[in-house]
């Protein structure tokens, strides 16, 4: 009976920490877990050190310390720690954390704006101490005070260096090869069956006197696959204008529609046939996935286009479109970077551009040296990836994981 009351009392004591926990951090203590025999002032936490949090926007300090010798050993009466901060050596100190259990570090981050609660100005001296707490609120011990320390923001996030190096490296490769191409170097690019089929398909449509259906997919204007698709549309529209074939471009996203209209118009101008351009070649259907599919299906069966091109982002509708196109007897060429949909296009279309080939298509179709330059850059980057992978393997074999860490970007 006595034991029970004691436990209840202890739980109640612990509960008094709950408000502190409310703003706390990971490892908040669970009252049932701790069994404390008796309460004597414990040894304090030692070796407290603090530094400005690296790679951040400021308003934050990293703290670390060593556990009290009475935590989990010795008297075993430390149940956790709390971080206290003041703006002068003499205090007043205020608590900055919840109850931290068996923790040796903490990030004291404050709000960045003056009007917010808990604003923590940069370039101000702060003093920290760590309080080792016991089950009795009155019994605790403080570490030595560390300070002064200031927080400040950085201009560059070094953790993201790997990304910067990749962007810079790739930018360099692209510019290098484009310059090379400008100077007239002959850049070899192998035959790409799927992409050459686009040319043939346009020819076929001309012979048959039937239009070409170009589907930009369900991508919004915010998808790079859609940007790649505009450029392919540009090339296709130019050929179509030259051959005087019809072009139908039903759109899903209204912004994409506007861009596509501009693209097709430009292509007709380039081909020297601005008169043949009609605003209604590129039109809006609807902004809902399956309603759009229903509409496009209707066009396929009624206009019977000679060729259907699907380029961009596609989701579940890919197979519905491709199967209907087969029924209508059109030649179908697809290209998407949406990995889960590539299998359906591969199965149901005559030609399928897989992933990267979609991005290559825009460069390849135009055969402009400038664009081919970027294809070269892509190839060299791939070689770089393979090289990195091999280095990665080798380093892991010798037990060094620094390279893996370097590429682990948060």
């Amino acid at each position: 009976m006595k034991l029970k009351t004691l436990i209840v009392l202890m739980i109640m004591l612990l509960m008094s920490y709950v408000p502190a926990m409310a703003q706390g951090d990971p490892d908040v203590i669970n009252p049932e877990d701790t069994t404390v025999a008796e309460v004597i002032t414990p040894a304090p936490a030692t070796n407290l050190s603090a530094s400005d949090t690296p790679n951040d926007h400021g308003h934050s300090i990293d703290l670390s310390w060593d556990l009290s010798v009475d935590d989990g050993a010795g008297m075993n009466n430390v149940i956790g720690y709390m971080v206290y901060r003041a703006t002068s050596m003499d205090g007043p100190f205020e608590s900055r954390s919840g109850l931290l259990l068996k923790t040796t570090d903490y990030i004291d981050a404050g709000a960045i704006n003056e009007y917010e609660n808990g604003y923590m100005p940069d370039h101000t001296d702060y003093y920290y101490k760590i309080r080792a707490l016991t089950a009795d609120t009155a019994v605790y011990s403080d570490s030595e005070i560390f300070g002064p320390i200031q927080s400040y923001g950085q201009w560059f996030n070094w953790e993201r260096l790997a990304v910067l190096l990749m962007v810079a490296g790739f930018l360099f490769l692209t510019v290098f090869f484009i310059n090379k191409a400008k100077k007239g170097a002959d850049l070899f690019v192998r035959r790409l069956a799927g992409i050459e089929a686009v040319d043939e398909a346009i020819g076929r449509a001309t012979e048959m006197g039937k239009p070409i259906l170009y589907v930009l997919g369900l991508g919004t204007a915010a998808d790079i696959a859609t940007i790649a698709s505009y450029t392919i549309l540009g090339r296709v529209a130019k050929k179509v204008a030259e051959y005087q074939t019809g072009l139908i471009v039903p759109c899903y996203d209204p912004i994409v529609m506007t861009v596509a209209q501009e693209t097709v118009k430009t292509a007709y101008l380039d081909a020297g046939r601005p008169d043949a351009y009609n605003e209604d070649m590129v039109y809006f259907v609807t902004n809902q996935q399956f309603a759009y599919v229903a509409g496009v299906n209707g066009v396929m069966l009624r206009e019977r286009p000679a060729t259907n091109l699907y380029m961009g982002k596609f989701y579940a509708e890919s197979l519905i479109l491709a199967e209907t196109g087969t029924v209508a007897g059109s030649i179908q060429i697809s290209g998407t970077d949406e990995i889960s949909q590539i299998p359906f296009f591969v199965v149901a279309c005559d030609y399928a551009l897989i992933g990267e080939e979609l991005y290559a298509a825009s460069a390849y179709l135009g055969k402009e040296p400038l664009l081919l330059g970027s294809l070269k850059a892509q190839d060299y980057a791939k070689a770089g990836v393979i090289f990195l992978a091999i280095i990665g393997f080798l380093s892991l074999m010798f037990g060094y994981d620094g390279i893996t860490d370097f590429f682990h970007v948060r």
Partner: protein, 276 residues
């Protein structure tokens, strides 16, 4: 010609008759339902339930061939869904997001709580209006400013996002040890097991991953003809790709059939009431 026309008229009449029949029966079954307060309500609800079943069947009829019922459902669907998104966009985005941040008068008019004047919300407003300039044949070119903003921002933002989340993590995940737990030749053979968590299986899997990624990347090389060793590697690459595509396809078949189950449930349970 005349005969096929009369057949389609007969079909149309039958369809209309069945529709009305279903409507009447539904309405009478609803009447005993206490939730529906008046006859008018049951008639209205019965109409919509029958309509939904009719449209479901109209879409399924497309599997046989294109026909007037599918055309009707398709055109109706296109019109209504476009309008629906227009309305949703207007109320939730324009009235919900834009209005409370730019004007107090408009906020009161639309009965939304005013959040205070936010300068930043004028940017999309102005870009939106610029976009509408397309409708003018003379000043249509101004709309390109908005397009340029959209495309430029998208390109920059997504370039980084993709590099960080997909590309780099995939590259770093490829760094797997090709000898898992290697303790020497002796232990390898003495502890040999085929279990999927065993050393042999793990090592084999890592090799397959490495070779798969390697050959897959070779397949995507554009600047070299696929000949010789290079050609072999790229062929292995396309094999791995094809196996993957087959597997994904087979995997998906399962989920697609369950979509059909949902529709059957509507037809047999909600509409015909054949099963409970």
């Amino acid at each position: 010609m005349a005969r096929s026309k009369s057949i389609s008229i007969i079909i149309l009449l039958v369809v209309i008759a069945l529709f009305i029949l279903s409507w009447v029966i539904k309405a009478t079954t609803f009447e005993s339902d206490p939730d529906r307060i008046s006859l008018w309500f049951s008639v209205r609800d019965a109409f919509f339930i029958t309509m939904a079943a009719f449209l479901t069947l109209a879409i399924f009829s497309f599997l046989y061939k294109d026909n007037p019922y599918y055309k009707f459902a398709e055109h109706l669907f296109v019109g209504i869904s476009a309008a629906y998104w227009m309305c949703v966009g207007f109320w939730s985005t324009l009235v919900g997001n834009l209005v409370p941040n730019i004007s107090e008068t408009l906020s009161t008019f639309f009965k939304v709580p005013y959040k205070g004047f936010h300068f930043t919300y004028f940017v999309p407003l102005i870009l939106g209006i610029i976009l509408l300039m397309r409708l003018s044949s003379k000043h249509g070119w101004i709309s390109r400013w908005a397009l340029a903003w959209i495309v430029g921002t998208t390109a920059g933002l997504n370039l980084i996002r993709y590099l960080r989340t997909d590309f780099i993590s995939q590259v770093s995940n490829t760094f797997v040890p090709l000898l898992v737990d290697w303790k020497g030749v002796g232990p390898f053979f003495s502890d040999f097991s085929l279990s999927s968590t065993g050393q042999f299986a793990m090592t084999l899997s890592n090799w397959v991953i490495f070779i798969g990624v390697f050959c897959g990347l070779i397949y995507f090389f554009f600047s070299k003809e696929h000949k010789g060793i290079f050609g072999t590697a790229s062929r292995v690459g396309i094999w791995v790709l094809m196996i993957t595509f087959g597997a994904s396809f087979g995997y998906t078949v399962m989920g697609r059939v369950s979509l059909l189950v949902g529709r059957l449930t509507y037809l047999f349970k909600d509409w015909l009431g054949l099963i409970s």
